[in-house]
Symmetry: C2
Subunit: 496 residues, 2 copies
C-alpha cells in the first residue's frame, strides 16, 4: 500500500511530458550542424563579447553556409526591391522624387509589380503553394535554364529548400520499411528527416579517391542489399553540387542515374541548391536533372523527379529570409494535391522569401539601371569564392596527414584527417568520435568552428570535417595561421 501511494505522489509531482514519453522519432533525430560544437561556439562568442580572455579574438563560423553572417554584403538590387515592397509610402506618387533619389527606377517598377502580385500587400497570406505570379516566373526561369517547359502548378514555393525536402519525404514514407538512398557523406537534413518521418536511410558511398564521384554499380549494390533486407527502397537523393563534398556531376553520369532510377523504380530527389556555385565551369558545368531527364526523350517520361532550389546559396546568400522551391516533374497530380493540402496547414510560405525568389530568377538585365552594379557585385563574390576555396583547400592539403579534394561547386571543403592512434584513444576516453574530438579542440584553441565528418557520415575508419570557405577574404591568412598552429600542436601532442 505504501508503495502505491509513493508511486502516485511521484507521478503527480513529475512532468506529463518527459524525455521518456516524447515521440521516439523526434528523439532519434541527429543533427550535427547545430550540435554540441555549434552550441559551444555560441557560448565562446558570448564570453568574448563579455571581455573574456581566450586564445583567439573572434569565433570564425565556418560550420554553416551562412554567407551574410560572415559579412558577405547582400546584393544591392535585391535589397532595394525588398525594402520598397515593405513600405507602401515609398511607392506612392507623393514621395516619388525623394524615393527616386535613393532607388533606381527599375527597383521601383519591380517592387510595384511584386506588391500587385501579392494582392496589394506583402502582409497578406498568399496561396499555400506560393503567389501564382512568382511561380510563373520560376517556371520561366527553369525553361530558360533548361530549354524544356515547366508548369507553375507543379512548383511549390517554400520557406527554404529544407521544408520542401521535408514535405516530399513526409508524403513519401507510408511505413517504416520505406527506404531512401542518400549519399554518404550527406547533408544531415536527409537522415534527420528520415528519422523524423520514420523511414530508412539507405546509404550509398561517394568515392573520395575519385573526386567524390558516384557510380551506378555502387548504387545498385546499395539498393539490392537494402531490398534483400526487406527495405522498400523508393527514392534516391542526390545533392549536386555536393554538400559537404563539393563535387559536380557530369551529364553522362546523370543520364546513368536517371536510367537507373527508371529501371529500379526510384523517385529522384535532386537537391540543386548550389547550382550557381560552380567553380570549374568549363570542366564541370552544372546541369539540372530536369534538363537531362527531358533531353532523354519520351521513353523516360515516367521518371518521377523532385528538384529543389533555394535563395540561401549561390552568390545571393539570403539564408535568413527562408525561400526555396520544389519543382515536381512526372509526379502524379493526386500526389501534388496532397502536398498542397499539407502545405495549407501552415497557410503559406513567408511572402518575403517568395519575393526574393522572384528577384533571384529575374535579375536585372543588360541596359537596365541596376544591371551594372548587380553584375559587379555578383562577379566579385563569385571570383572571390573561387580564390577562397582554392586557398583553403591548399592550406588543408599542407597540414600533416590531411588531404582535401578541391571544390568543383557548393560552399564547402571536406578534408580527410588521419589522426594518430593516441588521439583516437583520447577521443574515446572523452566519449567522442575522433573527428568531433579534433573539431572541439580546434574550436577551443582557435575559435574556428567546423562540423565533424561524423555528422555527415563517412567511410568507416576515416575522419573528416566540413568547412565553408565563406569568411571575408582578408581574414583567411589569420584564421589559416591559427589552424596550422593548432594542427601542429595537436599532432605533436598525440603523435604515436
Amino acid at each position: 500500500m505504501i508503495v502505491t501511494i509513493l508511486v502516485a505522489e511521484s507521478s503527480t509531482s513529475s512532468k506529463v511530458l518527459t524525455l521518456e514519453n516524447l515521440n521516439p522519432r523526434v528523439k532519434s533525430v541527429e543533427y550535427a550542424v547545430r550540435g554540441e560544437i555549434a552550441i559551444l561556439a555560441d557560448t565562446l562568442k558570448n564570453k568574448l563579447a563579455q571581455g573574456a580572455q581566450l586564445p583567439f579574438k573572434e569565433i570564425t563560423n565556418i560550420n554553416i553556409g551562412n554567407p551574410q553572417q560572415l559579412k558577405q554584403k547582400p546584393i544591392t538590387f535585391f535589397r532595394q526591391v525588398a525594402s520598397l515592397v515593405e513600405n507602401p509610402e515609398l511607392l506612392s506618387d507623393e514621395n516619388r522624387e525623394k524615393v527616386e533619389a535613393l532607388y533606381p527606377k527599375d527597383t521601383i517598377e519591380r517592387a510595384k509589380k511584386l506588391v500587385a502580385s501579392a494582392g496589394g500587400s506583402v502582409g497578406s497570406y498568399s496561396h499555400s503553394m506560393g503567389i501564382p505570379y512568382i511561380r510563373e516566373q520560376v517556371a520561366k526561369f527553369i525553361e530558360r535554364r533548361d530549354g524544356f517547359s515547366s508548369d507553375p502548378d507543379s512548383i511549390f514555393l517554400t520557406a527554404g529548400a529544407s521544408p520542401a525536402v521535408q514535405l516530399v519525404l513526409q508524403c513519401m514514407i507510408d511505413k517504416p520499411e520505406v527506404g531512401v538512398l542518400i549519399p554518404i557523406p550527406q547533408y544531415p537534413l536527409y537522415t534527420a528527416s528520415l528519422a523524423l518521418f520514420n523511414g530508412q536511410p539507405v546509404p550509398y558511398y561517394l568515392d573520395e579517391e575519385n573526386a567524390w564521384g558516384m557510380n551506378i554499380a555502387d548504387l545498385k549494390k546499395s539498393v539490392d542489399e537494402a531490398r534483400r533486407n526487406g527495405t522498400d527502397v523508393r527514392a534516391l537523393v542526390i545533392i549536386n553540387p555536393g554538400n559537404p563534398t563539393g563535387q559536380c556531376l557530369t551529364e553522362e553520369n546523370m543520364r546513368d542515374v536517371i536510367d537507373f532510377c527508371q529501371r529500379e523504380r526510384l523517385v529522384l530527389c535532386a537537391d540543386e541548391v548550389y547550382q550557381t556555385n560552380i567553380y570549374v565551369p568549363e570542366e564541370r558545368p552544372f546541369h539540372s536533372f530536369k534538363k537531362v531527364l527531358k533531353s532523354m526523350g519520351s521513353s523516360y517520361e515516367n521518371v518521377e523527379l523532385f528538384s529543389f532550389h533555394s535563395i540561401s546559396k549561390g552568390m545571393i546568400g539570403e539564408c535568413g529570409r527562408r525561400g526555396g522551391y520544389v519543382e515536381c516533374t512526372g509526379i502524379d497530380p493526386k500526389v501534388i494535391d496532397q502536398m498542397y493540402k499539407i502545405s495549407s496547414i501552415s497557410l503559406c510560405p513567408n511572402v518575403q522569401g517568395q519575393v526574393m525568389m522572384e528577384l533571384m530568377v529575374n535579375p536585372p538585365q543588360p541596359g537596365e539601371p541596376s544591371y551594372e552594379l548587380y553584375k559587379n557585385e555578383m562577379d566579385d563574390i563569385y571570383t572571390s569564392l573561387i580564390r577562397r576555396s582554392t586557398k583553403l583547400a591548399s592550406a588543408f592539403n599542407g597540414l600533416e596527414g590531411v588531404t582535401c579534394n578541391k571544390a568543383e561547386g557548393a560552399m564547402y571543403l571536406f578534408p580527410q584527417i588521419r589522426l594518430p592512434a593516441k588521439a583516437i584513444e583520447a577521443a574515446k576516453a572523452a566519449g567522442k568520435q575522433p573527428d568531433a574530438f579534433y573539431s572541439l579542440e580546434m574550436l577551443k584553441e582557435t575559435g574556428v568552428c567546423v562540423v565533424p565528418g561524423s555528422g555527415f557520415g563517412q567511410q568507416e575508419g576515416t575522419w573528416h570535417f566540413r568547412a565553408t570557405f565563406l569568411p571575408p577574404e582578408h581574414t583567411f591568412d589569420e584564421f589559416i595561421n591559427l589552424l596550422e598552429n593548432f594542427h601542429k600542436k595537436f599532432m605533436s601532442t598525440y603523435r604515436d
Copy 2:
C-alpha cells in the same frame, strides 16, 4: 503468362509514388479552410479578372483571417522599420539626410538595433530558436503583460503560430493512443496536425447557448470517456479568444481549467493569437493562461503550459510575413532541448517574421516620433473592427433561421443556420454536408466566400459557417445586401 506480362508493363509505366502508397497520415488530413470552396473562389476570381459575367463584381473573402488581403492598411511604423532593415544603404551616414526626409528618427534607430541583433544582416540564418535579442524582448513583453517573469530560453520564435503548434504536437505524440482535447468547433489546424502526427483528437464541446462557453464537467466527461476507451489523453488545447467562435474566457473559468489540468495531468496548450482582438474589454478582458497560472501560486508550479502568439492577428495582420512564438512554462528542459533540435533541421524561422515580432512587442511609446500615427492607426482599425463585428452579427441575426453570438474577441462570427429538410436532401444528393452545400451556393450567387461549420466541427444536427468581419467597412452594405438576397432565395427554393 500474358497476364503476368501485362501486369509488369502496367507496373513500370505507372508511378512509384501514388495516392495509394502515400503516407496515410498525410491522406487522412482534412483542412477545410483552404478546401473546395476556397479553391472555387480562386477560380471565380480568375474568371472575373478575365472579364467573365457573374452575378457579382468581386469575390469577398471572408473565409480566412487575412486582413491585408481585404485592404487593411499595414501599420506605418512596422513597415517603415521593416523597409529600413532590408536596405543597408538607408542606414548609412551618407544617405542620412535623404532617409530622414522619408523616415521618422525612431524608425531608423530601431532598424539599426534590429540589424545589429541579427548579426549585421537580416539575410543571415539566426539561432534556430530565433534571435536571442528578440526572444529577450518577447520575454519582457510577457513580463509587462502578466506581471510574472519570463525566460527568453523558453521561447521559440517560429514562422507563425501554426508551425509552433505543430512542433509541440509532433514532440508530444509518441504513439497512436495519445489524445489531445480540442474544442468543437475548433480551428482545423488542430485536427489536421493530430492526423498528421498520428494522435487522437478528443473533442469537448463549446456551449453555443451559453456564448460558446466551456465547462469543467464537460471536459471531465470527455477525458473520462476517452480514457475508458484506451486513449492516453495528454493535453488540452484552448483557443482564447475563440476561433471560430469568438468567445473570451473569464479568469475564474481559466483557474478551473488550470486546476483541471493539474488534477488530470494534462499539458495545457493555449492558443492566444487573438489576445488583442478584444471587443468588450470591460466585461470580457483578455487574461493569459501564463498569468492566471502564475497567480495561482506554487502549488500549481508543476502545471505544463505552451502559450502561442502571432504577428498575423490583432490590429497588425502581418500574416504573409509568418511570425509567431511559443512560450514554454513548466516544461521539462530536456523536452525543450528536443524541440530545439527539431527546429534546427529547418535552420531558423524567417528573420523578417522575427523582426516584426520585435516591433509588435515593442511598439512606439508616448513622446516618440512615431507614437501618434501608430496609436491612431491601431485605434482606427480596432474601433472599426468592433463596428464591423456588430454590424455583421446583426445582419446574420436578421436572416430567417439564423442565430449568431456576438464576437467578444478574435475575427470571426460563427452563425448557426437552420436549414429546411429539402435543402438537407439536396445537399445529400450533391454529396455534400448541408452547410458546405449552403456555403457553395452562397459563393456562386454572391461571390462571398465563407467556411462551412463542418470544417470546424459542430454539435450533430446543427449547421454553421465561419465568416470574418474583416472586409473594408464601406463594402459591408453591399455584400450584406447580396447575402440577404441570396439567403431569401435559398430559403424560398428549399422551403419545406
